[in-house]
Symmetry: C2
DNA sequence: GAACCTACATACGCGTCTGTATGTTTCTGA
DNA sequence: TCAGAAACATACAGACGCGTATGTAGGTTC
């Protein structure tokens, strides 16, 4: 019993979780850089310090691995960015917090996974494409609600349909963040400015921190 | 002589040009939808009404075809969007014309070729990646000059480094345009708003047409 | 410590896609 | 009108990457 607790002897569950995490992280990097089609599982495994055997022991196939990466990323996004949005009571403040938080979140090298997958599978009837679209749709709906609330409160001027506005809102700051590629600290400010601009708000006053 | 001019008998040069165009267009659609890695030449040829034999007769290989598509798109972009920018004398007006023009340009299904290739090859030492980056760099430089001019004239407020601003500027309206996916007429307005926001201009006054 | 289970490695079959080599049709020019 | 060239189709070879089958080392349970 004591022997089995020695630090160099790890439990099976720990061992499994450790390699799973390493594989997920490696796969996320790979997906972010090369996309799904160009992702080579041999490379993913090697980068994580394993072989393809370990990968296929933990994941059913390439698709299963990708879905796991997606789920993993969405969860961390919710934990890190979602909570920032929740904290804000004003709709406009929440939307700008979303843009800022996303910029900070994307400073890691896994930033482009969602965008890459969405571009690669958009308009196709594919499991992965649907998974990304579904997650994205939730985000769009959330923005639609916030924008509607902001308009009702008079904080956001009338204009294009709410859904179009939400799509452009997300696309704009996402595009800015990817283009800046983690250039702190400007990424945060410029993402917020892009977001404010789409919403029809004066970017300089909207992004002035209290 | 007369017989050779009959409408159902086309000259070899015409024939060549016609099939080349068909192949280029088909390849552009494919690249836009699936990216380089997932592009299947058999599909490209079939969509254009040919076989891979015709394709390999006109283009050296997949890479050559892709570079030709890129060149073709850049040229039409210059003809359709570039001229709009040239016409404006004020830097800010030129930048907003760029955003608007790009939105209109991207209503076609070849919109995402450049973005897809840039995402797929960014950070890699690949001929295609360099070609896209080089073209993009020219555009960035152009924006840098316009932004500098705008700042000198007092039309654009000071802030982040010009290059960062230019990158975010391009990324923001490009992202918005892709997200809207050709939803006329909102794409044009919202692209301009995103662009104005990044530059620090009030989007409502900046996008008010004269 | 013996039997069992789990984590991981190695080896191979198979399909897919690219590029080339060779055959067939269509046009051109003397 | 016919020989040659260009456009295009078909057939084949090689590479690559996925998934699976099988072997081995390390951990767990009794």
């Amino acid at each position: 019993m004591f022997l089995s607790m020695r630090s160099d002897r790890v439990t099976q569950a720990d061992r499994r979780a450790r390699s799973r995490n390493a594989l997920l992280e490696s796969a996320a990097r790979g997906l972010s850089r090369y996309g799904y089609g160009n992702l080579v599982l041999e490379q993913v495994a090697t980068d994580a310090g394993y072989t393809r055997g370990a990968l296929y022991h933990q994941f059913k196939d390439k698709q299963d691995l990708t879905l796991a990466v997606l789920e993993w990323i969405l969860q961390t996004w919710t934990e890190e960015v979602g909570v920032l949005v929740e904290k804000e009571s004003e709709p406009v403040a929440a939307l700008l917090a979303l843009a800022r938080g996303h910029a900070v979140f994307c400073r890691r090298d896994i930033a482009r996974v969602a965008v890459a997958l969405r571009l690669e599978f958009s308009g196709q009837d594919h499991v992965i494409g649907r998974a990304v679209e579904d997650a994205y749709e939730l985000l769009v709906k959330r923005c639609v609600r916030l924008i509607n609330a902001g308009r009702k409160a008079g904080a956001i001027p009338p204009g294009p349909p709410t859904r179009s506005l939400a799509l452009a809102f997300l696309g704009a700051f996402e595009g800015a963040v990817i283009a800046l590629d983690g250039q702190a600290p400007h990424d945060e400010l410029l993402a917020a400015r892009a977001a404010a601009g789409v919403l029809g708000l004066d970017p300089l006053t909207a992004t002035r921190r209290p």
